[in-house]
């Protein structure tokens, strides 16, 4: 609570947080949508914004506003799955490799390096192409997670490696702590900022990646996401027809989302930076 109050003093955090809450509320609204997100021709097509349809309607005969609520919800779910799953993997691999060292370290880092050197984007496209029909929300998230942990696992491992050399590690062992409590009590406080900031940037990356895959037509296009909304708008020549609301809606939502995430990440990682934290501890 104390921490939150301090964080809110930073305008970047406050603004980012408010944006995210608004977007989340929007996503939540989707549960009360009067329309089915995938059915066509529920409303008149191609109508500009009006009181009835505040963001107009699209070429498939769907209300853009309500469609957007589903899109943001699905995009957030994809990104959260990708971010959280890859975080869990990165943390496990990083801690294990860093603390155990030796063979464990070499094997794990070998796998991570393998993932890092292959041209990630091509593989992603290839896999998506092969599995196109299976690219549901969850699967898209998992696919992105699979490619999103390697670099961060390396960074976490490097930090654990340097922490292991510090004398308080030994003091903790002398105090009778088990390996598990050593890691959770001594190391986690140092790695939390890293985990957190990589989580946020990973979420942002996943959102971007989903859009790219969608625009290339490599996910199930009938499921509304920020990416598929953009894809439909582009293929239906929104620009040419002057139907700006088809493009502007997903675009604005994406930009707001990315900016909010960026500010949150900057602010939180500054807040959690151990050096700053020591100063604050001193300041209390």
């Amino acid at each position: 609570m104390e921490a939150l109050r301090e964080l809110f003093r930073d305008y970047r955090f406050a603004v980012g947080f408010v944006f995210l809450v608004l977007l989340a509320a929007l996503a939540f609204l989707s549960f009360f949508s009067p329309y089915d997100p995938v059915r066509w021709l529920q409303v008149p097509r191609d109508e500009p914004p009006s009181w009835k349809h505040i963001l107009g309607t699209n070429a498939k005969g769907q209300d853009v506003f309500w469609e957007a609520t589903f899109a943001i919800r699905n995009s957030l779910v994809v990104a959260l799955i990708a971010g959280l799953v890859s975080r869990v993997v990165a943390v496990l691999v990083g801690f294990l490799a860093g603390y155990k060292g030796g063979v464990v370290d070499r094997v794990l880092m070998g796998v991570a390096d393998g993932l890092l050197v292959i041209p990630l984007f091509l593989i992603l496209v290839l896999v998506a192409m092969l599995l196109r029909e299976a690219m549901t929300i969850v699967n898209t998230g998992l696919l992105l997670a699979f490619f999103g942990w390697a670099w961060d696992a390396r960074t976490i491992r490097a930090q654990i490696l340097s922490l292991r050399e510090r004398e308080f590690t030994q003091t903790s062992l002398l105090s009778g702590n088990s390996t598990l409590s050593l890691v959770s009590k001594e190391y986690v406080p140092f790695t939390i900022p890293l985990i957190f900031s990589t989580l946020i940037s990973n979420i942002a990356w996943a959102i971007g990646m989903e859009i790219v895959l969608a625009i290339l037509g490599l996910v199930r296009l009938e499921i509304p996401t920020l990416g598929t909304m953009l894809q439909w708008a582009i293929t239906r020549q929104a620009m040419l027809l002057g139907h700006w609301w088809w493009i502007a809606t997903p675009l604005a939502l994406t930009v707001i989302l990315l900016v909010a995430l960026y500010w949150l990440s900057v602010s939180v990682s500054e807040y959690l930076d151990p050096r700053m934290r020591i100063q604050r501890i001193g300041a209390r």
């Binding site: 340097s162 050399e165 100063q279 001193g282 300041a283 209390r284």
Partner: protein, 327 residues
Amino acid sequence: MDAIITVENLQAFYVLEVMGERKVIKAVNGVDFAVLRDEVYGIAGESGCGKTTLLKAIFAALEPPLRIFEGKVYYYPNGERVDAFSLAGEARRKLRWTYISYIPQGSMSVFNPVKRLRITFLDFLKSHVGGKREEELLTLAREHLVRLGLTPQVLNGYPHQLSGGMRQRVAIALATLLKPRVILADEPTTALDVVAQRAVLQLLRDVQKEFRSTIIVVTHDMGIHAQITDRMAIMYAGRIVEEGLTKDIFARPLHPYTRYLIQSLPKVGDKNTKESAPGSPPSLLYLPPGCSFHPRCSEVMEHCVQEIPPLKKINESHWVACWMREG
């Protein structure tokens, strides 16, 4: 009198907020002294009595929770008097490291562990010496290290590859790089073996002779004080309890605490049980009333419990804060 630093009635406290309760740690509690040009001034005292805090205040490195409650510290660059606490920004940056430099305690752990020492040295030089190429700066650093009897190869390594003693010497090298007028050295020899201690003493003496800089040495090692300082002060619980010429302090310690310090010095060849001062130093949070040494003093009088003894002049150069010496 040619003062280079004067400290007037300095009170520097740590103010902490612990579970809603305000705690004030009186680390420096009314300290007065002047350090002269071209001398080595020693400060000795019990662990935790505020020596490091005093140096931080002199260096005007005031980060919360450390706050100055009263008093002033003056510098004298080019003969004019400057209030150290009023300096800010560019003016302060200019004086730091060229007028006054600080070798912090435990300086072996101040190096950035993930940077090669060369980078640390270069960063330091770049931010203080303008208009030179990297190569020239490196040469400068190397020459300096050689002067201190260190191998310039240390620059290629990481801090953790050096032993504690070596790191300490490199830290001293870094702080004396710009040949400052005043050097504040906080426990500069603590991590070193006696042979290396001698080398550091030798080095500090050389710097002092060559550039006529003033050195303020804080150490609890009375051997170092005996070897290098001209004058010294004994601190106890945030106050100076005795000040005088080093040889007078050793020959005729006046304060009971100083006497304990001198008499508990062990010597090779002497296995007789040494008495240390009974009890333990007071918590700076809850200072005893009156003289803060009175609970441990063998000569305590009624007056000692009631009133803090002021620093009183005994002769030209010797001062002591003890009611026994009153009248």
